[in-house]
Symmetry: C2
Subunit: 195 residues, 2 copies
């Protein structure tokens, strides 16, 4: 997605070879027009399948799940992060290890909102280690719903997330795939292929 | 907002005289069409003022800030909840006491995204004790930005939040104002006034 790559080049702050900050337009301050465009792009990629629900994880996936939900005209669900599951109702949950925070947490969604009748598109802002997304995939499968695929806004292709998801038979599409980066420079996968 | 009141009556789960669950359509599973309508309603109420940014707090304010941002065609910012501020950059922050979790946390936003040139609409899903919203109001004022007002989706009018905000000179509009509730019954402020 060209406009996204341009914004990453212009506004992304590369703090190290692995840390990219995009909080001026994607995940702290959000450019609502760009978010809607991102949603339309996910709908274009996955919309030939009859998706019934979009699934993401709080917090920074919400704006993109909402945008995809708007473009596909379906509801979305955001999984909650909890250290301990203390919900009274029945939930699907999966353990996730956060490399950033170096701690384990649970992602969970109420069993009321996902079932065998659903076809689910999972959406998130970043695909890096894939830990949270693997958890969401496990939740979708535990619910009996069909998984249409995973759509990510930015992928750090030099990390293992895509490989982990593909090993589970999941179709993955990311709108900007970063092959490598270092302070002041970002190289996208498409460009690496062309050169 | 009539359609919202109807949904609360039909789908809201009243667990006690103070706890209302709306997670089938507002803050776990989200009805994207209704969220967009809510955003348009906020824009109708506050849109005569030249709002430059919508501000909310992660996580469940995001979908409504996004909807308001879409309707007003402006970006939105979501404040982060942190127990300790460890951001490298300069932030505006305010302490908030969570009655639900019985703990203190910080809400913070980067100073880069709010300044005297901004006119801000604050949006959130619930107005109850007002603790988080008072924190956001303090942040807006610390930034030098002008505050257009606070828009909430659901207000528990029997709690002290509105009073705290109005005592700070803040204009508050809520789309569904609950006068009282008990398991199986919810009474909205408008109805209480009419009767």
């Amino acid at each position: 997605m060209k406009v996204l790559q341009e914004r990453i080049r212009e506004e992304g702050l590369i703090l190290s070879n692995t840390v990219l900050k995009v909080d001026s337009f994607l995940n702290h301050q959000v450019d609502t027009r760009l978010a809607l465009e991102i949603g339309r792009e996910f709908a274009r990629i996955f919309g030939d399948r009859p998706i019934t629900k979009v699934l993401t994880i709080e917090a920074s996936g919400i704006q993109f799940a909402m945008a995809a939900g708007i473009a596909l005209d379906v509801p979305f669900i955001y999984a909650k992060k909890k250290k301990a599951v203390t919900l009274a109702e029945k939930v699907y949950s999966a353990p996730v290890y956060s490399f950033t925070r170096q701690e384990n947490y649970q992602v969970s969604i109420s069993q009321k909102y996902l079932g065998p009748e659903d076809k689910v598109l999972i959406v998130d802002d970043f695909l890096a280690t894939g830990a949270a997304l693997v958890g969401l995939v496990d939740i979708v499968r535990a619910s009996g719903a069909e998984l249409a695929g995973v759509g990510c806004v930015i992928e750090k292709s030099f990390q293992e997330g895509r490989g982990l998801l593909e090993a589970k038979g999941v179709e993955v599409h990311s709108l900007a795939r970063i092959a490598s980066m270092s302070p002041g420079e970002v190289c996208f996968v498409e460009e690496a292929v062309v050169e």
